[in-house]
């Protein structure tokens, strides 16, 4: 874990969507590029690379973070989740939140969508219940297509579905 001598390339071990990956990466490699190019999971998008748009949001050890503002080496030993991990594996189903986005026309070009979904996924679903809280939660993700209204509706609806079922939810 400790790297006491300065080095320009680092061996890292990252769990991505439950699968352990080992790579030797340049110290300067951004986590976003690691996920997209090295690992090949291109569902995480880059819209600004300076922390403002939220398209690159992934979950690292349970927290939503900007993958464009983290180095791959900082994810060494961490558990990373990306949009590819949201839908229940091995089925055609979508997660309740993905389904709510689809049902409410909460995406158009879809470029921002992964970021929204990951932000939402990182919090306690109880936070989906209050439109005002949802707006605050989502204010770190830019969408240029939808005007946000249908996104907020989708989140509230996903909450109703979640709350109504009272069951577990992996979306």
């Amino acid at each position: 874990m400790t790297i006491s001598e300065p080095i320009s390339e680092v061996d890292i071990e990252v769990s991505i969507n439950g699968r352990t990956r080992r790579h030797r990466v340049p110290a300067r490699l951004l986590l976003s590029d690691y996920i997209r190019d090295t690992v090949g999971l291109t569902g995480t998008h880059l819209g600004c690379e300076h922390g403002y748009c939220g398209a690159c949001t992934v979950i690292v050890d349970g927290d939503a973070v900007r993958s464009c503002l983290m180095l791959a080496v900082q994810a060494d030993g961490a558990e990373v989740r990306t949009v590819e991990d949201l839908a229940p594996a091995g089925s055609d189903c979508l997660s309740p939140m993905q389904q709510a986005f689809h049902d409410n026309h909460a995406l158009q070009c879809g470029f921002c969508t992964a970021g929204f979904l990951m932000t939402l996924d990182s919090v306690d679903p109880a936070e989906w219940s209050e439109p005002e809280r949802v707006v605050e939660l989502l204010s770190g993700n830019l969408c240029r297509c939808t005007g946000y209204q249908n996104i907020v509706t989708a989140v509230t609806e996903a909450w109703s579905a979640y709350d109504g079922s009272g069951g577990s939810n992996d979306g």
Partner: protein, 806 residues
């Protein structure tokens, strides 16, 4: 043109008019969308462009040696290497030719001009080398012009040596009737209205991947206009069009910025050909802000003649567009013409004399952005109406009522020739006023106890030309589009159209149309868009043309296909063609219980079992339709007028705002939209277009503004910290209602709705804030309406002593 898709089809369900769920969603929702940056080809090299940091300068020398020495760098190209590439065409005869080269050479005219391309094994290395090329570049700075006044000042530095001055065009109609109106009116005033520089800003930047295999160049580009890219790449690289294939993968938004054909669209394919390796360039956000077109920077010098009773007699308006350097293909000329064509909005106001001027400056070239000039004009007209209402003590709603195009007045020919084919101009305003009333009361009640807050309301009644001719914009292309429909031997349906798609749901729409036209379900329809190899020539998606073009071309092709299919079915059922009906995907003889023939059987007969075909019938079951709206004009008529749009949508926006007097903070409390885009194919998609458009309109009304240093023409923005794209906290709840006035001359009556949402907000916000601050006499004439602008208006009113005492 009329297409009767129901004559021979009995549908158990119609799909047109329903919110059929989008087929486009699944990829992005699950992380499996395929955008241009997701394309990976073995051996692909990465391209980074080196861009001018000077706004106006001669490039004296470029030393690429250090960059070339970096490990992993494969090549560095400058303009000299691209001598074999043709210059971008200057197709439009009436504007100054810019003779744009794919890479800047000699003189660079804006910060961001690409002048070298570094090719390396990966983007990190390419950026390292690009920094060295930048450091190795010597400029000889030239004096700059940063705005209209500087550009037009006598003796101003010229951008283009071969021009007389910095004016690209100046078109001034003269209308004697307007002069008469001025002579007869009780009063006149003059004012200057300003719209600021903005951009479409898709969340996905641009990007190009190119690969040459077996002599065919394939270009994946995040473009709204793949066929035009193909024609231009082929022309400039000197290749036959069939050897160039342009594909747009999933596109992360375009909003007009991706209709243009940029240097990178040419240079990246050239590099792939030159190095015989796949090459990729993905625009980053820093370059996107200077290298993708800007828009909307216009100034309007207005003279208004009006009477005591509020009647506006005549308006003279000089509309001036800051084109930036003008170095963009297609030129960014057209929006200001659209501004003037649409300036009178939904109002019956013939006495408009609008002069159109384009000026070049040392800034990023301006071009297309959703709304395409309409918001700028709408802003001017609504501000004029509010001013006259205030000056004459006329009620703002009443004055608008008096001026609107009334029911029964369509087709109505506007001052510049635009022909409002149908619409609900008065009705939608009345409906909007009704919807806004409770919102206004709510806001008043909410702030009743707060002495620092004022509440106001603002209005906009606009028209939106749809499916325009592209001839005036490009000097070249027209305004039609094609689709091919095919039924395969297994009965499955494939639709291919020249249109592109970047989030509007065009694939879903095409499937709905084909489904209803062929009596199948949308799920059974495969749709191919945005691939020059697999779809017929089309101009792409812009100008709110998607819905109408798809309707026209898909229905036309489908109808042709149905004719043939019916003939085959009739033959197979041994019945008369006229008796054949299609019910739930199978052909029957009307009124009989006879067995039916399925699409698969018809398809099999057409392609394989010729024995089942009528005698002498040509095999195959694939038809094309090229749709060109009949009443679309491409050139000015003898009187200098033109109806350059196939149809005209309309709408009303009304917003209620609260303003904090002490800080100038503005909050949009409620936003009401009533709009009319003719027949609606998919209500959810239309509503989505409205929401997104309004959000962009609000961005322009209150937030986004590209500012330049007046002394150096250097951008004063570099990131999303300075270019303020609204978040969901800034976009208010929108209440949307619809009218449907079918386009009388278009298939199904479809008009189009891509841009209208952007039009209202600048006028609405400025109107509402001025209304809220009427006790100070505030009358805003510029966007964006920022807290500083609001405070400045209050302060100057107070300084002039016109304000309420406070």
């Amino acid at each position: 043109m009329s297409l009767d898709i129901d004559s021979h089809i009995r549908h158990s369900t119609r799909h047109i008019g329903r919110s059929v769920p989008r087929r486009e969603d699944r990829g992005p929702l699950t992380g499996r969308g395929r955008y241009v940056a997701d394309i990976k080809i073995a051996g692909m090299l990465e391209v980074v462009f080196v861009r001018s940091v000077e706004a106006h300068a001669r490039i004296v020398s470029i030393d690429t040696s250090e960059a070339l020495a970096v490990e992993g760098v494969r090549a560095v190209f400058t303009a000299a290497d691209l001598a074999d590439v043709k210059t971008f065409p200057d197709y439009i005869p009436y504007i100054g030719p810019v003779r744009q080269r794919p890479l800047g050479t000699g003189t660079v005219r804006y910060v961001g001009t690409p002048y070298a391309a570094v090719v390396a094994d990966d983007r990190y290395i390419a950026e390292d080398a690009a920094a060295l090329v930048a450091a190795g570049t010597t400029y000889e700075p030239l004096p700059t012009v940063a705005d209209l006044d500087q550009a037009l000042a006598p003796g101003a530095p010229k951008l283009h040596d071969h021009w007389e001055n910095n004016c690209s065009f100046d078109v001034a109609p003269h209308k004697p009737e307007v002069d008469r109106a001025f002579e007869q009116a009780d009063h006149t005033f003059t004012e200057t209205y300003v719209s600021q520089r903005q951009t479409g800003l898709p969340m996905e930047t641009r990007g190009v991947v190119a690969d040459i295999t077996d002599g065919t160049l394939t270009v994946w580009s995040s473009t709204q206009s793949p066929h035009m890219v193909r024609s231009t790449v082929a022309l400039m690289l000197g290749m036959p069009e069939p050897q160039v294939r342009v594909v747009h993968p999933t596109i992360g938004g375009g909003f007009g910025t991706k209709t243009h054909i940029y240097p990178e669209d040419i240079v990246v394919p050239w590099i792939a050909r030159r190095l015989d390796r796949p090459a990729r360039w993905i625009e980053d956000r820093m370059e996107n802000l200077v290298a993708s077109v800007h828009a909307r920077e216009q100034r309007h010098e207005v003279e208004v003649a009006y009477d005591d009773d509020g009647t506006i007699r005549g308006v003279r308006c000089a509309s001036m567009l800051d084109m930036g350097s003008g170095e963009i293909f297609m030129p960014g000329t057209a929006p200001v013409f659209v501004t003037n064509a649409c300036i009178t909005g939904g109002y019956d106001f013939p006495n408009m004399q609008a002069r159109t001027i384009g000026v070049v400056t040392n800034k990023t070239p301006s071009g297309a952005y959703r709304g395409f000039g309409i918001p700028e004009g709408a802003f001017v007209m609504e501000r004029i109406i509010d001013r006259v209402a205030r000056l004459t003590g006329t009620d703002r709603v009443e004055l608008r009522r008096r001026m609107l195009v009334r029911p029964g007045q369509t087709p109505y020919v506007m001052h510049g020739g635009g022909r409002l084919d149908s619409g609900s101009h008065t009705e939608s305003f009345e409906r909007g006023v009704e919807m806004a009333q409770p919102a206004l009361e709510r806001a008043r009640a909410r702030y009743a106890g707060d002495p620092d807050v004022r509440v106001g309301v603002g209005y906009s009644n606009y028209v939106e030309p749809t499916s325009p001719s592209y001839h005036l914009t490009t000097g070249h292309w027209g305004g039609g589009d094609a689709a091919t429909v095919r039924v395969d031997p297994d009965g499955s349906v494939r639709v291919a159209a020249g249109l592109s798609a970047f989030g509007q749901g065009a694939e879903t729409t095409a499937a709905q149309l084909a489904a209803d036209a062929l009596g199948v379900s949308p799920e059974e329809v495969t749709v191919v868009l945005g691939d020059t190899e697999r779809a017929p020539y089309g101009l792409g998606s812009w100008g709110s043309r998607g819905a109408m073009m798809l309707t026209g071309s898909v229905l036309l092709a489908s109808e042709r296909l149905m004719d043939k299919a019916r003939a085959i079915a009739a033959h197979m059922l041994e019945a008369a063609e006229a008796d054949i009906v299609l019910t739930d995907g199978a052909f029957h003889v009307a009124g009989s219980d006879q067995p039916s023939v399925s699409w698969a059987e018809v398809g099999t007969a057409a392609w394989i079992r010729y024995v089942d075909l009528p005698d002498g019938m040509e095999p195959g079951l694939e038809t094309s339709g090229y749709f060109h709206p009949e009443n679309l004009q491409h050139q000015l008529d003898d009187t200098g007028k033109i109806n350059a749009a196939a149809s005209w949508s309309n709408g009303t926006h009304i917003g209620v705002v609260s303003v904090r007097v002490s800080t100038g903070e503005v909050r949009i409390e409620d936003y009401v939209v009533v709009h009319d885009c003719g027949t609606v194919i998919n209500p959810a998609l239309v509503e989505g277009q409205v929401h997104g458009g309004v959000a962009q309109g609000i961005a322009g009304a209150m937030y986004e503004h590209f500012q330049y240093d007046p002394d150096t023409a250097n951008p004063r923005f570099a990131s999303f910290m300075d270019y303020l794209v609204p978040t969901c906290a800034e976009v208010p709840h929108m209440e949307v209602d619809h009218f449907e006035s079918p386009a009388p001359e278009q298939p199904l009556g479809v008009k189009g709705c891509g841009e209208g949402g952007t039009v209202g907000p600048p006028a609405v916000v400025a109107g509402a804030v001025s209304d809220a601050l009427s006790e100070w006499g505030v009358d805003l004439t510029e966007c964006p309406v920022t807290p500083v602008a609001v405070r400045a208006a209050i302060r100057s009113a107070e300084a002039a002593g016109t304000g309420a005492d406070s």
